[in-house]
Amino acid sequence: MRDFERPKAAFFSFTSCEGCQLAILSCEEALPEILKRIEVVNFREAMSERSDDYKIAFIEGSVSTEEEIARVTKIRERADFVVALGACATTGGLNCLKNRFPMDDVKRIVYGKDAGQIETVPARPIDSVIKVDYRLHGCPISGKEFLAFFADLVMGRSPRTPNYPVCVDCKMAGNICVFEKGMYCVGPVTRAGCDAICVTYGSVCWGCRGYVDDPNVNAHRETLKRYGLTAKGVAQKLDLYGGKKQ
């Protein structure tokens, strides 16, 4: 058998909590196996070595400064394959909540009289700046989904993204619908793949994976109203992860 040359991969973090990279480090048992398949040349959170020579780039976080726009563009030039890691990268995520206000107000709210030394632009998903080849959704990404995607990637299979709503996962998990429990959720318009873990653990679907393709948002808006949410409440339910819904 010919010696297998491991593709070089790099991990980058932009505006984010770095939780998606941590979710990968939390695939403890799989780490040695992963490292047999790819050569990690950049992962600042966990290693000192760095290199600009890589084929695959994993990018966590939204783009929210001019410097980040330039940096993500450079990464795209160097990589053959770009993977967006998690909600901040795929939809803009929670970062986009600041976009509801003018940027000058946002800076003043947080930094007061020192606002002048802070630079920021409206937060956005990375595909609003560069072409993205694959998206791993969620806040944070699911380790299980990452490993499945990773297997596809190194086997040369084309990875698939679920295009059905969280309700499907939720039924499979045997959950009682949260609307039956007097709560509200956005599962019917949100992309699945999370095993509806939030509902399983007593919460609701917050919409972190973005919309399914062709979501019937208007119908869901009516449902939320019918269950007693005000128009403002409906809007807030839908915009929490709503920078740009995939």
Binding site: G19, S26, L35, R44, F101, Q236, L240
Partner: protein, 429 residues
């Protein structure tokens, strides 16, 4: 020593977030010394403004993937104190259990993934998997266990799910808790092995008298619960904390610096062990003594060992919480509803130190104002002071070694830069 030295470490690696170290020494005197924070700010205060109270913990958890349980807990405590909610004993025990899991997870991650490579002269854990397979297996096992503690209680560690205003929305089964307890008891073996290894690698010598601030609790080692306490012993509580601690901007940092009435102070594992030594459980205290970690502590490099002492403490705490839960028989409980509105404060000991959230919530349950004080922001001044004190003593070394030691010192603080920039105190105006 009349030496010139220019050090510019761009993006210190193996720390959480983005920071540079700039040092300029002329004729043996430090002209300039900065720990630049270059992380992109995220403006959480602005994000939270106008959102419902029952979204706040979900949003604030996203400040940091590593200390998500801490931010969630501080957020919940602030919401619950503003809204007159008292959670049940079972809910408090479950939250404490998740909290132990996170502290354990964060410390193991820091010690194994970030610090250990320094000790064996590697750039990352990757070579360790081959050179120290047994140690790697043990620590990865410990990390798995700490993740599983959070998973059993809260669904997952990174952005916990079931920790919500009014209690805990999911009840673990008796079987799950028993399995966890068994694994925790077995894990002391692994912790012992890690301790043996770390004790064989003594910390660099460096002493500087300092003020330590941490929470302190009656009858337990402060983590989820407690009131702020200074080793200088002046009066302070959660209400006066924000007045005592002054935060201020410096030009080179997107994170604020902080000072106490006495000036520079340190928070984190070393501060907690120093301030709460007598509350340590027996095994953890024995380990602390064995490691020479007996107050008053002065060497910031010992923060690594203090974290390991806390791994023992958190494991014992987790077992004790599970014992109480099993005795009570965990059962599903309704969440407590809000009874009031107003301003509330929530404080916890995050893995990296004292964390403060304060919100004002109006009668419609909408957050009008949010303010936070973050552990790493509180440590930035201390990191710079320590570097200033430490560098003159190592100037005779080759530049590469000096850089290495400087990075190790910064790393010993386990800075979490995402946290420190992603939110800063600040009032909505």
């Amino acid at each position: 020593m009349e030496k010139d030295l220019n050090i510019n470490i761009v993006e210190v690696t193996r720390i959480e977030g983005h920071g540079n170290i700039v040092i300029d020494v002329r004729k043996g005197r430090i002209k300039e010394l900065r720990f630049d924070i270059i992380e992109s700010p995220r403006f959480f205060e602005a994000m939270l403004r106008g959102r419902r109270y029952d979204e706040a913990h979900h949003i604030m958890s996203r400040i940091c993937g590593i200390c998500a349980v801490s931010h969630t807990s501080a957020s919940l405590k602030a919401i619950e104190s503003a809204m007159g909610i008292r959670i049940s004993r079972q809910a408090a025990l479950l939250r404490k259990l998740a909290f132990s899991g996170e502290m354990l997870q964060s410390h193991i991650l820091h010690l194994f993934f970030l610090v250990l490579p320094d000790l064996v002269g590697a750039g990352s854990i990757v070579p360790l998997l081959e050179s120290h397979p047994e140690l790697a297996r043990r620590t990865l096992g410990l990390k798995r266990l700490s993740n599983d503690i959070c998973a059993v209680v809260a669904g997952r560690h990174i952005h916990p799910i079931s920790l919500v205003p009014g209690g805990v929305a999911h009840t673990p089964g008796t079987g799950e808790l028993k399995t966890l307890k068994k694994r925790l008891e077995d894990s002391f073996r692994e912790l012992d092995a890690l301790f043996e290894f770390l004790s064989g690698m003594p910390a660099p010598e460096f002493r500087l008298e300092r003020e330590f601030i941490s929470l302190k609790a009656r009858g337990e080692y402060a983590a989820y619960a407690g009131e702020p306490f200074s080793s200088m012993n002046y009066p302070m509580d959660s209400i006066s904390f924000r007045k005592r601690i002054k935060e201020y901007m410096v030009p080179h940092s997107a994170a604020k610096h902080a000072k106490s009435p006495r000036g520079t102070y340190m928070v984190g594992a070393l501060a907690r062990v120093n301030n709460n030594f007598r509350q340590l459980r027996p095994t953890a205290r024995a380990i602390a003594k064995k490691a020479g970690l007996v107050p008053p502590l002065t060497n910031p490099f010992q923060n690594n060992m203090a974290q390991l002492v806390e791994c023992f403490q958190m494991t014992e705490d987790a077992v004790a919480a599970i014992d109480k839960l099993l005795e009570m028989g965990p059962r599903p409980e309704p969440l407590k509803r809000p009874k009031a509105y107003g301003t509330g404060i929530g404080m916890v000991e995050a893995p990296r130190g004292t964390l403060y959230h304060e919100y004002r919530i109006n009668k419609d349950g909408i957050v009008e104002r949010a303010e936070c004080i973050i552990p790493t922001a509180q440590n930035l001044r201390s990191i710079e002071d320590d570097l200033r004190g430490f560098i003159p003593g190592i100037l005779h070394m080759p530049k590469k070694e000096i850089s290495g030691l400087i990075e190790s010192l910064v790393r010993a603080y386990d800075p979490c830069i995402s946290c420190s920039t992603h939110i800063m105190d600040v009032r909505f105006v």
